[in-house]
Point group: none
DNA sequence: GATGAATGAGTATTCATTCAT
DNA sequence: TATGAATGAATACTCATTCAT
């Protein structure tokens, strides 16, 4: 057992080592320009070793998102379960959580939005894909629950199902991607935090009943 | 003269023929999986011919966005110039314009959001790239002007410069991408119009002064 | 006839126009990097027109050499036929002729040496190839005759057949190519005339009896 | 150590395997008509493997020459350093060395003369190019030294600097190329050795004082 | 004759992936 | 497990040549 456990831990350490390297390389070069050899070199491993831990390049790429989604899910669920918070306080907490999610790994979160609705998604192993879908669904579900409580409580305007959660999430990803692309297009300074703050503030005002 | 003109028109027709084929193929397979041969076959032309009209694969891809951006620019500018509309009416008109922009070519607009902030952007010819940047900048600038008028008129809350335009645009792109990815992930029905409508409504309420 | 003749002359003019353009382009870019379109542009004609005058790229390239070979043949034969010159005077005249041949078109003569013993030679039309071979053979034959006269006259050492002509010719082409490559390798100044002069002087001294 | 050494040797063996195959294919088809796949097939390797050992097609081609140049350099330097030989004996030894250089690898030496003063030379990696240039320069330099000694000793006529070395070298390459092209043009028998011998003999006689 | 748009065969090169050690 | 040499399929792009006008 001790041995088995140690082996398991060792294995996990390798995975992390690869993921960290992959993150750096993918962020710098993008999915297509990054080669497995680049990543192996960055991880100080051989190319062959990468395939002992990840089925292929696309799964390695997708694994990055998984880590973020797990963090997102934990944070969002935690807010949802805070029974002693009033709905509006929960939304405030949710907003804070989203800031943290972005802070947790900004580059990867941008990649994640690219991943979704892209070619890559179609070639993942069913297990990984369903894990990603599951976490996404459960996270957006928890967000939806929070808004439902607010509607039930008479705080927020009632909309078609999940509308508030969808828009909340769209706002988040939209701002993140737009700020990222502004940096590429115009080399403008990064106002993301400020813009995100203003965006959520407007959103909240917009959904609050008089 | 007649001849020259006819040739010019013929040339333009070929470009469109290629663009139409490229749109189909890129939408179906994504940028990387789509081959120039696929596109040539779809256009019922030979691979070599594609290169008579487009410098390379990336420029062909980027050309798709250009058409949309031109349409976006025209619509947004038109709203901006409507001098006999009050600021709030202009924002309503702007929202309508955005619906139309999406309707004009939904698939390509999704591609365009992918294009931005991606590797591809870096390898375009300077001319095409600056044309894209220019149209983006001028369009978002016109949107910003509309909101500024609203602020000056006391309709909307004053924020840091361009905040309203940035958030408006983020909301638009965020909703479009999120709805697109939902379709891939869940094969859910397309509520885009409805979600976009709700999103803009919330946004407007959120920025309106008491 | 008048018409036919004018047409013939017109046709020859076009050929020359193309040859002049081809010479410029081939000299600058070399055979492989030069495109038929480059040549057409230089000749202010369309690519298709080139094929009305030359069967293909290789024949166009070879045609350049033909012009030089014709000039070489004329000069060498002329020396050979000068019945009132003593053998040694003929060799002097031959050397002068070689200078002129080089001066006639230095760039093309370098190309010609590349042409010989290269892949290109193998793909020419039988007619052109035999024309080239014929001129080469007859020219070197005339040179050989000149040296034979010198041997018969007791001026020069008797060697195996054609040895003097072969070495004379090798010396010429060797010096030309070596000086050309020195310019590429070292950007050294062009001493060709001087080196050629010295080379021929040594050669003459080397073959002269006592 | 043992392992590292064996690997190093194995690697060198592969390089040689490729070089041998490349030599065969380039000799038969010439640079342009030879494909990397041809060479890979000949070497019983896959195309990709070629690129593990050579940066690209041109470097592979140039590597062939390098081997000859190294041999040339060794032989020429060796003659130069023979302190107990009189200048004229050194020139005799030099001539012998040149025969050997030609014998060492006749086909490649013809290719080498084509390489020089051609387009190919311009696209090599700086390292390889400078290695080639360096060996050329040092070899011709050593040859020049030998003749200088002869001049200083009163054996040979004094000419402008390096003239004798340049002409010696030109004679060598000129004869080699001319004999090669005669074989292509006329399918004449190979008299190279004989012609070379006569040529050097004439040359020596031509430069010798009284 | 002249054009030049269209062709499409031809190829160097890359890189994810494998597998013998 | 880890390696990294070898693989070989995949593809963007070029350009000599053709042919309808």
């Amino acid at each position: 057992m001790g041995i088995r456990e140690r082996k398991e831990r060792e294995k996990e350490r390798r995975r992390q080592q690869i993921i960290v390297a992959a993150k750096r390389v993918f962020s710098e070069k993008g999915f297509n320009k990054a080669t497995m050899e680049d990543i192996a070199t960055e991880a100080e491993l051989s190319p062959g070793t990468l395939y002992l831990y990840f089925k292929n390049k696309e799964e390695l790429y997708a694994s990055l998102s998984l880590r973020i989604l797990q963090y997102l899910y934990i944070r969002v669920t935690h807010v949802h379960k805070e029974t002693d918070l009033a709905p509006r306080a929960k939304v405030k907490a949710l907003i804070e959580a989203m800031y943290d999610v972005y802070d947790f790994d900004p580059l990867t979160i941008i990649n994640m939005f690219h991943l979704q609705s892209s070619e890559t998604l179609k070639n993942l192993s069913p297990e990984l894909l369903s894990e990603i879908k599951d976490l996404s669904r459960k996270s957006i579900g928890a967000i939806a629950e929070i808004f439902k409580e607010g509607i039930a409580n008479g705080d927020y305007i009632d909309r078609h199902p999940n509308a508030l959660a969808d828009i909340f999430w769209s706002l988040f990803s939209g701002v993140v991607l737009w700020e990222a692309s502004k940096k590429i297009i115009d080399h403008r300074k990064d106002y993301l935090k400020q813009t995100l703050h203003t965006a959520f503030e407007i959103f909240e005002k917009g959904i609050t009943l008089s």
